[in-house]
């Protein structure tokens, strides 16, 4: 409802439902702004005459505020730097739910699509890529638009009409737009004639890690069915601190090992088996990873059709999950986790 720009001016878009609230907020705002000295006193004088009763006519208020402060701003609708429209909001919430292991998320929109990043402790990172083809309309007016917001809140908003699975239940239409740095992300959802609009505040943008995963450094790569890997992951010995992935050009197996209280477990998946589509390995690979850090990969694994696993020479592991969302569209989720150095030194 309020849009501030850095010149302490604001545009008020009047929503009749919140008129009383709006007036109250305006009053409070006036007081704080005046105290902070950032608000020209001459303008305050007029503001303080705002009617305090709830019976103020909407028109009164509109004429009072609009001409003075909105003149420098073009209408809000034309300010969008990002506009996304899709007929089924379930698709995007399905993908985003899989990466929601932390609240904060960074959105990065370019003409190639939407990338949403969630990371923890500057080490584990989940990235969701959504290609523009999934949206009915995708307009990006700048080369790169980045903002950070609370993903949990966004998901609550997207699921406001209920959150049963991707196929079943409701499928609300979605329109999302963003007007640039410092403004909230607006979401409009429609379902059976009911409209819900949400304004999610964006927060100060923290840069995220950029894992440079060059293909030249990759020493091991597997493409396999996610079903099988999910089963293995779910049955890993939870008393173990770490999990080890090993493969070598000579060995016939891809080996996953845990070191728990009750012993060491190996899970061997033969190269020749049906679940492995391809396995390429240039030199022997064996790295350990903290089991707790691997946890966030389980959710995307659960919704993926296929997974590609790559390990580079420093031990950085990258899972890429392929998720089929519509007949001919795929989304991808990347998971990055560095190898655990402490365990390496123990040996």
């Amino acid at each position: 409802m309020f849009l501030f720009n850095n010149k302490q001016q604001f545009l008020v878009r009047i929503n009749p439902t919140n008129r009383q609230r709006l007036i109250n907020v305006l009053h409070k705002l006036l007081i704080t702004k005046t105290r902070a000295g950032s608000f020209p006193a001459s303008e305050c004088g007029e503001f303080s005459q705002l009617p305090k009763t709830s019976h103020v006519k909407l028109q009164q208020f509109e004429t009072f505020v609009m001409p003075r402060f909105s003149s420098q701003n073009v209408p809000v609708e034309q300010n969008h730097v990002l506009m996304i429209r899709m007929d089924n909001a379930k698709i995007i919430s399905h993908i985003l739910k899989a990466i929601n292991f932390k609240e904060n998320s960074v959105f990065c929109c370019t003409k190639d699509g939407l990338k949403v990043t969630v990371e923890d402790m500057k080490s584990v990172q989940l990235n969701a890529f959504i290609e523009p083809g999934i949206f009915q309309s995708y307009v990006v007016k700048e080369e790169e638009i980045k903002f950070q917001l609370n993903l949990t809140v966004l998901l609550e908003c997207l699921n406001v009409f209920g959150s049963s699975g991707l196929q079943s239940g409701t499928s609300p239409a979605l329109k999302l737009y963003y007007n640039g740095h410092g403004t909230p992300v607006s979401i409009l959802l429609e379902e059976s004639g009911v409209i819900t609009d949400c304004k999610i505040r964006t927060v100060h943008f923290d840069p995220v890690l950029d894992y440079d995963f060059g293909t030249s450094n990759v020493i091991g790569r597997i493409i396999m069915s996610s079903e099988c890997l999910k089963e293995v992951f779910c049955e890993l010995d939870s008393t173990s601190d770490c999990v080890q992935f090993s493969m070598s050009p000579d060995s016939a197996n891809f080996r996953i090992t845990t070191f728990g209280h009750s012993g060491t477990y190996h899970v061997d998946i033969p190269k020749a088996s049906d679940v492995i589509e391809s396995l390429r390995c240039t030199s022997p690979v064996s790295f350990k990873y903290k089991l707790s850090l691997m946890k966030p990969s389980i959710r995307p694994l659960g919704i993926a059709q296929k997974v590609s696993l790559r390990i580079d020479d420093t031990g950085l592991i990258c899972f890429q999950f392929m998720i089929k969302v519509e007949d001919n569209h795929n989304c991808y989720i990347d998971f990055y986790c560095p190898a655990d150095v402490d365990f390496e030194e123990d040996e």
Partner: protein, 277 residues
């Protein structure tokens, strides 16, 4: 004092369980008022001074009971007021639900276990010819005559605007989500039949718009009230009661009053407004 009633119609039993279930979920202790024509369930807010009830539910005895008999406190005050712990009834209900449809349910006021009891005698069908009879004795307190006035029927209110609520299922899922975001929401209705539900937190503001609602009554152009989402969601959870319509009355800043209307019963729910200023 005497009271006995017997229900045999499966639909009535189902509806009765539904209503009783609603009471047990919404309040800790519940008052049952029995008159010669109607049965009332009353839940009052605990630990508040306000005398207004939270729930007021009236059931038509003729509709629910095939056999019915009662004898009140005296010929002048021919009514009975009982108080029971809702949780105890909830257990009886689970027994009723698990076993599917009961053939008949008898409710009696008895004196067992050295205190007055509300006895539920549930006749359940079984595979063989033998029938099973499940008896639940729920201890109750008789409310003395001098306290009856605490449970008077709420006065007919004069709402600023009164509208029919949209599909409860849809509204329920929205309220459920909003509940995850904030504790309170503002309900706003206009005389054009627009109802909006707004939550505002530091991170987000969400507004849902329901339009084209049937306006029953309008005194003002618009009215709004801030209410506790948990309570609203508790109440909307009872969509399975399948009322013919749900009327929502709003009294500016003071009250949201929801009224489930059906031929055989009315259920009123009072949601006091919260002053958020």
């Amino acid at each position: 004092m005497k009271f006995r009633g017997k229900m045999i119609d499966p639909n009535c039993i189902k509806q009765f369980i539904g209503i009783l279930g609603c009471m047990t979920k919404l309040g800790k202790s519940c008052i049952l008022r029995i008159t010669t024509t109607d049965l009332y369930f009353i839940v009052r807010e605990s630990q508040t001074i306000s005398a207004s009830p939270l729930i007021w539910c009236a059931l038509d005895e003729g509709h629910f009971f095939s056999e019915f008999g009662m004898e009140g406190l005296s010929t002048v005050d021919n009514e009975i007021y009982l108080e029971f712990v809702a949780e105890n009834v909830a257990r009886t209900l689970s027994a009723l639900k698990v076993s599917g449809t009961a053939k008949s349910v008898k409710i009696k006021l008895t004196k067992k276990l050295s205190s007055p009891c509300l006895t539920f005698e549930i006749d359940l069908p079984s595979g063989t010819n033998h029938s099973r009879l499940v008896v639940h004795d729920i201890p109750v307190n008789l409310v003395p005559r001098r306290l009856w006035n605490d449970y008077l029927e709420p006065e007919a209110m004069d709402p600023d605007i009164s509208v029919h609520l949209p599909q409860l299922r849809l509204m329920k899922s929205i309220v459920e989500r909003m509940k995850n975001l904030a504790n309170m929401a503002t309900v706003h209705v206009t005389s054009e039949g627009l109802l909006t539900l707004t939550v505002e937190t530091e991170a987000v503001s969400v507004t849902s718009h329901f339009d084209n609602l049937h306006v029953e009554k309008k005194k003002e152009e618009e009215a709004s009230v801030t209410i506790e989402l948990k309570r609203l969601s508790n109440f909307l959870g009872h969509e399975q009661l399948n009322p013919q319509k749900v009327v929502c009355d709003v009294l500016q800043s003071k009250l949201m009053h929801l009224n489930f209307l059906s031929d055989s019963y009315t259920l009123q729910y009072f949601l006091p407004g919260i002053n958020d200023q």
